[in-house]
């Protein structure tokens, strides 16, 4: 074992573990009256860690191929860190108001970072053991986080639904992995890549394994937990689940399909085609009839997963770069939308679309950010989301899936209707008792400013797209 190599390639994970341990120590030595200090420490620690994660990682493998590091993986880890940082900025006020009176301070951050650690291991896994460990390490802390609002019945309900269904899906996935191990004789992706036969038993295992990942991305037959968990869990946790956890799962799905299971390309393109159509239609039609904002965003995130599949189906370097680019935009738009819902729910306790009536007159800046985020999710031109969606269509059309692109365009039209509902309520309607004006704390203001700038800039700043394109050449 080469120690220098270990620290160079696993730098991200090792630093995160150090941050977790350091925060526990800080919490231990902070007197009870000054727990606010822990929040500031956590934010500063994570900010430094995020900055460090932008230093490119060298390429290589560890533990005989279990842990893989590539420039693209390093870049995606940095993107996930930015997402978690933005979510943490929104969480500051919530932790101060809700958790510290209950006697918790560092627990939220420790669990969140542990889950992020699991996702880091998940996306750089090179065999099924690391893959499984990463998936579980990312799921279990989130289940604990979902139950964090102890006095609310819904929080416990969301957590029990998430933990049981996540465990069941990972059990089905494990059975699939054991079948793949039985037929190919190895759990390493590199060895599976070089097996040439395609026995039916392995096909069964492959389908079971993909269903485990599809649960994480909340593709349609596996999406039933999404709305319930997003509504019941604290908004910060729903935010994390909908962007970071989903993004990492999409990344590892691409790695699995494009590298070790390449020989099933005929099967998985058909599978993704059907899943994409189902996911878009079901997500959109259920989003139409939602009144609760969190539930509405949950179904919109199901529909967005369908659009992401449009890029994954391409199966080449172009697919990788468009999907990563879309995920980057999706992280910004969904974090912004959930963030607005979060601050409004925290200050006024209101979560329904009708409550947003007349929001522009009392909170103009928040409603502008909400508009930007929803326009980006819907894909309206000046905002970044349009470019992301456009490239996804281009990838699918490039491979000749014209019908799929047509169905996606129909779905975008449907989604435009429900994305405009909250915007219409906020801007065009007058209300007798709108949500009163409130001042957000400095942390969420900072986070919102970054998000608003990001939503505009990412779409227009083309060197970023070219940088991602250059990194994704490794997947051929």
């Amino acid at each position: 074992m080469n120690w220098e190599n270990l620290f160079a390639l696993m730098r991200n994970e090792i630093l995160l573990v150090i941050a977790v341990l350091a925060l526990i120590l800080v919490d231990l030595f902070t007197p009870k009256a000054k727990k606010k200090f822990v929040i500031h420490t956590a934010n500063v620690l994570f900010f430094l860690f995020m900055l460090w994660s932008f230093v490119p990682l060298p390429e290589g493998t560890l533990f005989g191929g279990s842990f893989v590091s590539k420039p693209l993986i390093g870049f995606f880890k940095a993107v996930m860190n930015v997402g978690v940082m933005l979510i943490m900025l929104q969480a500051v006020e919530w932790v101060r108001k809700e958790l510290i009176p209950q006697g918790f301070a560092s627990e939220f951050y420790v669990l969140l970072w542990s889950s992020l650690l699991g996702l880091d291991y998940l996306i750089s896994s090179g065999d099924f053991l690391m893959f499984y460990l990463g998936l579980e390490l990312s799921a279990l802390p989130v289940a604990a986080l979902a139950a964090f609002e102890f006095y609310r019945k819904r929080s416990a309900e969301a957590a029990v639904k998430y933990v049981l269904l996540a465990a069941m899906s990972s059990a089905i996935m494990l059975f699939g992995i054991s079948l793949i191990y039985a037929t190919s004789g190895s759990i390493y992706f590199d060895d599976i890549l070089h097996v040439n036969q395609m026995p039916l038993l392995e096909l069964v295992g492959f389908v079971m394994m993909v269903s485990g990942v599809a649960f994480k991305i909340s593709l349609v037959p596996f999406h039933f937990w999404t709305a319930d968990v997003y509504e019941g869990a604290p908004t910060v946790v729903s935010n994390y689940l909908s962007v970071i956890s989903k993004g990492a799962a999409v990344f590892i799905l691409m790695t699995l399909l494009f590298v070790p299971l390449r020989r099933y390309e005929g099967t998985w393109t058909l599978m993704l085609w059907i899943l994409a159509v189902l996911t878009m239609f079901v997500g959109n039609f259920f989003a139409l009839r939602q009144q609760n904002m969190k539930r509405f965003l949950a179904f919109s995130s199901v529909a967005q997963a369908g659009f992401i599949l449009l890029g994954v189906i391409g199966g080449n370097a172009m697919a990788v770069k468009t999907v990563i680019y879309f995920l980057l935009i999706y992280i910004f738009s969904n974090v912004a939308a959930f963030g607005v819902v979060h601050v409004i729910a925290m200050h006024s306790g209101k979560e329904n679309i009708d409550d947003y009536t007349g929001l522009y007159r009392t909170n103009p800046r928040l409603s502008l950010l909400l508009m930007l985020a929803l326009f980006s999710l819907a894909g309206i031109p000046p905002v970044a989301g349009f470019f992301g969606k456009f490239f996804l269509y281009a990838t699918a059309a490039h491979k000749g899936y014209y019908w799929l692109v047509f169905i996606a365009v129909v779905n975008v039209t449907i989604s435009l209707y429900y994305y405009l509902l909250p915007v219409r309520a906020a801007f065009l309607r007058r209300s007798e008792n709108p949500i009163p004006y409130f001042r957000s704390d400095i942390y969420s203001k900072l986070g919102f400013a970054v998000l608003a700038a990001g939503l505009i800039v990412i779409g227009l700043y083309s060197p970023l797209y070219e940088y991602i394109a250059q990194l994704s050449q490794i997947f051929q």
Partner: protein
């Protein structure tokens, strides 16, 4: 390797065990019962990995190591799920699935 028992017998056994667990997961209305069914599914996979390793690919220990990790993670999952079920019991006064019904369409 066990004398007189072929790999087919073991794989049939684990598959039956897995689907008994899946059936139990879907039909039980008691949360602890669901947890037991889950354990059944995970254990069938652990047996699967060990048997495949011993019978088909005995040159490396990948399957045996994998089954060790499955046991550890199953324990972690059960501990967390039990804690959350306890939380549900405190809020609703019951551990029946039919009482967990606040969030739905």
């Amino acid at each position: 390797m066990i004398e007189g028992i072929s790999i087919q017998v073991i794989l049939t056994f684990t598959t039956v065990l897995f689907f008994i667990g899946l059936y139990g997961f879907l039909t039980r209305t008691h949360l602890i019962g669901i947890l037991i069914s889950l354990e059944l599914m995970l254990n069938s996979e652990a047996i699967n990995f060990v048997a495949v390793n011993k019978y088909l690919h005995p040159q490396f220990l990948q399957g045996a190591v994998f089954s060790l990790f499955i046991l550890a993670l199953a324990a972690a999952e059960t501990a967390l799920a039990l804690a959350i079920i306890l939380q549900v019991y405190r809020r609703t006064g019951s551990v029946d699935v039919k009482e967990v019904k606040e969030l739905k369409y």
